[in-house]
Symmetry: none
Subunit: 344 residues, 3 copies
C-alpha cells in the first residue's frame, strides 16, 4: 500500500475517470477533445505542484504549448481513461510534462495505450499575472536524459518563435441557403464555427480559460467540419503542435472556427482558429488566441478507416493551403516511418 | 468576407453546438428547454456586446421578456443546432433580439428551421445592479423597419405592464399514496415540481441566474407533467410570452412547479411557476419570480402527433383555468391561420 | 516509473481532479456530495474491474452500502482531490472497498486527509440485471487481515438486514406563507426538497443511477436544510451508514427530502429520504429508494465551528426523532473517543 507522503513527492500523477455519454459522439466514440482536456488537467496539476516547491511567489502553471499528439486507438463510453503525467524536463522558465493515456475496459479487462503527449507549461505568479516565476530544477536519472530534454526544449523554443498565430480572416459559419447552393466537398461547404460564453468552471484560479477547455472546443469544431465533409462517423487521428500565444480571460466569448485544408485518401486536415472577444471590456477588441491543425479519419461500423471524399478546391488561396497541408502530411508520414524503423 | 474588427460592430452572432445525450430525453428528442437556453445565451451575448459599445458603466444584458415561441420541428442527439441572433430594435433602455434556430443533421445534410424567437433585454450596470444603462441606438435599413420595431416595443411594453405574475398557491408534488389513489388524467395526478439549488454556472457575472437556465428548468417540469399525463414521448410545441419580473440571485433554491390547465385533441397546456427562496437571507422570503404556459404534444415512434387523453377536471378552479386555456388555444390557432393566409 | 501493466493488475486505483467552482458552495468549500461522488466512482471502477477478472458473465459493481464516513477537513476550490481505492475484502457475492481522500493545495503544497470511507459493492450481470455474479477471491497479506475483513462483512450484513428503509411521510418543501409564519428553528421551517429528472450522464451502462449521483443529491438537500436553520456557512461533518436497498432506473424523477432531527451545541443531524418515481411506467408507483442521516456543522469566516441554534421541537414525533438522534450522536462521540484512546 502506497504511503501518502511518497505519492505526493514523486513528480508524477495519475488522473482517471469513467467515460460518460456526454464525453462521446452518437456512435459511442469518446471525443478527442475530452481526452485532450484530461491530458491538460494532469499537466496543469503536476506543473503547478512542481513550480510551488520553492519559497517565493505562489504560481499556477499555464499551458504554453502541446507537441504533436497522435490518437492511436478509439476510446468508448464506459471505459476508464487513465491519464498519467510526469515532469521530464525543466528549463529556467518552463516545464516539460509527458503524458500517457490508457483506455481500460473494466468489463473485458482490455487495455490499450491511446495517446502520448508532451506539454510545455510556464509558471505564472498568482499575485501578478504578467510575471513568470523561475522553475525549480528536477533531478535526472542520467546526464543523457537531461541532454535529450535540453534538445527538445531548444527545438520547441525555436518552433514557438517561428510560429506566428495565423492571423487570417475569421471563418464565418455559412448560412443555410448559402451552404445548400454550394457544391458538396468544397471548403466553404463544411466550414463551421462554435461560439462559447466562458463560464466559471472553464477557468483557473487566475481567471483564465484552461488550455484543455480551449482544446476541447477546437476538437469539437474540427469534428463538425469533418462530419459535414464525410457524413460518416469521424474520429480525431492527431493534432499538430499547438502554441498558446495569448491567454483568454473570464467573461470572454470564444469563437472557434474550422475549415478543411487538405484531404489524403484516408484523412482530413482541418485548420482551427480561436478568437476571444472580451464582452464587457469591448475596447480591448477581439483577438486571435490560438490556431491549430487537427487530422481526422472516417470510420465504418467496425471502426475500420473509410476512404475520404477529396476536397474540391476553389481559388488560389485554397490551393496554396492544400499544398501546405500536403507537405505537413508527407512530413508526418515520413517521420512515422522513420520512428517505426528506429524501433525495429 | 468580414474583417475581424467589423465582426464586432455588426449586431449579429451565431452560436452552434452539437446536441449531446444530456440535452435530450430517453428517445433522443432534444428538450425544448435546451434550445431556449441556447437562444437566451445568444441573446445575452449580442445584447451585452452592443450595450458596451459606448463609454460609461460596463453592463450585462438581462433578459426581461421572451415573446411567444413555437417549436416547429423536433431536434435530435448528434444534430448541430445553429442559433443566430440579431439586434432588430433598441429603445432608450431595452434591446430587441431576433433569434433563429436551425437544426442540421451533419450526416444526411438535412436542415430545418426549428424556432424563431424574439427576446427583450435590459442593460444592467455591473457596478450597481439596480441601475439600468442607456442603450446605444442601432441603425435601421429603412424608416419602415424602425417604425415596425417601435410598434413591437410599445406592444410588449403594454403587455408587460398588464401582466402580473400569477400568484397562486404553490403546486406541491403529490406524495405516493395520493398519486396512486387519484384518478388518472386529473390535474393532481400529473402535477410536478423540480427543486434546484442555484450553482455558479447557472449565473451571470452579476450573480443572477441566466434567464435561459430558468427557462430550461421550466420546460423540464412541463415535460414531466406532460409525460405523466400521456405516458408517451412528449415534446415542447410552444411557449407563451414569458416576462421576467424579478431576478433570482446566486444562492437561492428554485422551485419550479407545473400543472396541466388545458387539453385539446392533440395538445396539452401546462402552467409553470418559478419560486425563488433565498437560502441564507431568509428574511427576504420566498417569492414568485416567473410564470409561463408551455404547450406540449405527444408523439408516436415515427414522430407523428398522437391524440392526448382529455384532462379530467375536478372543481370550479380547474374548470375556470381550463376555459382560460381554451381561449388561449383558440386565439393562437386563429393567429396561426391568419399568419398563414397573409403569407400566401 | 510504474509500468503500465502493474498499475492495472494491483487491486488499487487513484482518481484525482481539480476542484472547480461548480463543485463548491459560494464561500468556496467543496460540497461533501462532490467528494462522496468521487469516492463512489473510484469504488465502482475498482469493484467492476475486479469482478470481471474471471470468465463468465460480464458485470458491473453496484453500490450496496457505504459505512459511516467522516469529513475531517474542508476542501477548497483549486485544490486537487486524490481519491485512492483498494479492495480489502471479498465475500462470495460482495466486495469491500476502502477509499482514502486527500486534499492537496498544489500552490502551498499543503496536504490533508479529508475522508476515509468503506463501500460495499455487489456485481450485477450486464445480461440479466437481476442476477448477482460470484466474486473472485482476493489474496490477503495475512490471515489476520482476512479474519478482520470477515468480521466487518458479518457486521455490515447484520446491519443491512436490520435496517429497513425508513418509510415515513414524504417531506414537503414548505411554501412561502407557511414558512414565514412558522417560528424560526423549528423542523418545518428548515425542511427542504430537491427534485431531479435523471439524465443519461447520471446512469451506469445498466441504466441505473450511480450511487454517487444519489449521494451528491442527498448531501445537497441536507446542506440546504442546514443553511436554512443556521443562515451561515455550513459543511458536511459526517454521513451515517447508507444502504442502497432499491435501484433507481433511467427516466425516473427523484425527490430528495431532508428534515432536521437533532442539534447538539455544534452540530446538526439531518434525515434524508430519496424517493424514485418512474415517469412513464407509472403503474410501478413511487418508492422509497434510500434513506440516511447527514451531520453538518456551521463555520465562521476562519472555518472555525460556530454554535448551532437549538432545534425547536413541535409534537411527540419530533421529540422522539430528536431523542433517537441524540442517541446516535452520543454513540458516535463515545466511539470516536474509544478510537482515539486505542490509537494513543
Amino acid at each position: 500500500m502506497m504511503s501518502v507522503s511518497n505519492a505526493q513527492e514523486t513528480p508524477s500523477i495519475q488522473i482517471c475517470r469513467i467515460m460518460r455519454p456526454d464525453d462521446a459522439n452518437i456512435v459511442g466514440n469518446v471525443h478527442g477533445g475530452t481526452i485532450l482536456k484530461m491530458i491538460e488537467e494532469a499537466g496543469c496539476i503536476i506543473g503547478t505542484r512542481h513550480c510551488n516547491t520553492q519559497s517565493g511567489d505562489r504560481c499556477l502553471a499555464a499551458l504554453a504549448r502541446v507537441e504533436r499528439t497522435d490518437f492511436l486507438h478509439p476510446m468508448f463510453i464506459g471505459e476508464v481513461a487513465h491519464v498519467s503525467a510526469e515532469i521530464t524536463y525543466t528549463s529556467k522558465h518552463s516545464v516539460e510534462v509527458q503524458v500517457n493515456v490508457l483506455a481500460e475496459n473494466i468489463v473485458t479487462g482490455a487495455k490499450k495505450v491511446t495517446n502520448k503527449a508532451t506539454l510545455w507549461y510556464v509558471p505564472i505568479s498568482l499575485q501578478n499575472v504578467d510575471k513568470i516565476i523561475e522553475v525549480p530544477p528536477i533531478e535526472y536519472s542520467s546526464p543523457e536524459r537531461e541532454e535529450a530534454g535540453k534538445k527538445r526544449y531548444e527545438a520547441q523554443k525555436l518552433e514557438r518563435l517561428e510560429d506566428k498565430v495565423r492571423n487570417g480572416e475569421i471563418i464565418m459559419s455559412v448560412s443555410l441557403p448559402d451552404r445548400q447552393t454550394k457544391e458538396p466537398f468544397t471548403v466553404v461547404c463544411s466550414q463551421s464555427s462554435l461560439i462559447h460564453l466562458v463560464g466559471p468552471s472553464d477557468c483557473t484560479l487566475h481567471g483564465f480559460v484552461h488550455g484543455g477547455v480551449t482544446m476541447k472546443l477546437m476538437d469539437e469544431v474540427a469534428g463538425i467540419v469533418a462530419a459535414r465533409h464525410c457524413k460518416t462517423n469521424i474520429v480525431t487521428a492527431s493534432v499538430d503542435a499547438i502554441n498558446f500565444h495569448r491567454k483568454i480571460k473570464k467573461g470572454c466569448v470564444i469563437t472557434v472556427s474550422g475549415r478543411m485544408t487538405f484531404t489524403s485518401n484516408k484523412s482530413m486536415e482541418i485548420e482551427v482558429f480561436v478568437d476571444a472577444d472580451p464582452l464587457v471590456e469591448a475596447e480591448k477588441g477581439k483577438y486571435r488566441a490560438v490556431t491549430a491543425f487537427f487530422t481526422y479519419i472516417s470510420l465504418d461500423k467496425e471502426n475500420k478507416p473509410l476512404p475520404v471524399p477529396p476536397l474540391k478546391l476553389e481559388g488560389e488561396e485554397e490551393q496554396k493551403r492544400f499544398e501546405e497541408g500536403k507537405a505537413r502530411y508527407l512530413q508526418n508520414k515520413a517521420k512515422r516511418l522513420a520512428d517505426k524503423e528506429r524501433q525495429q
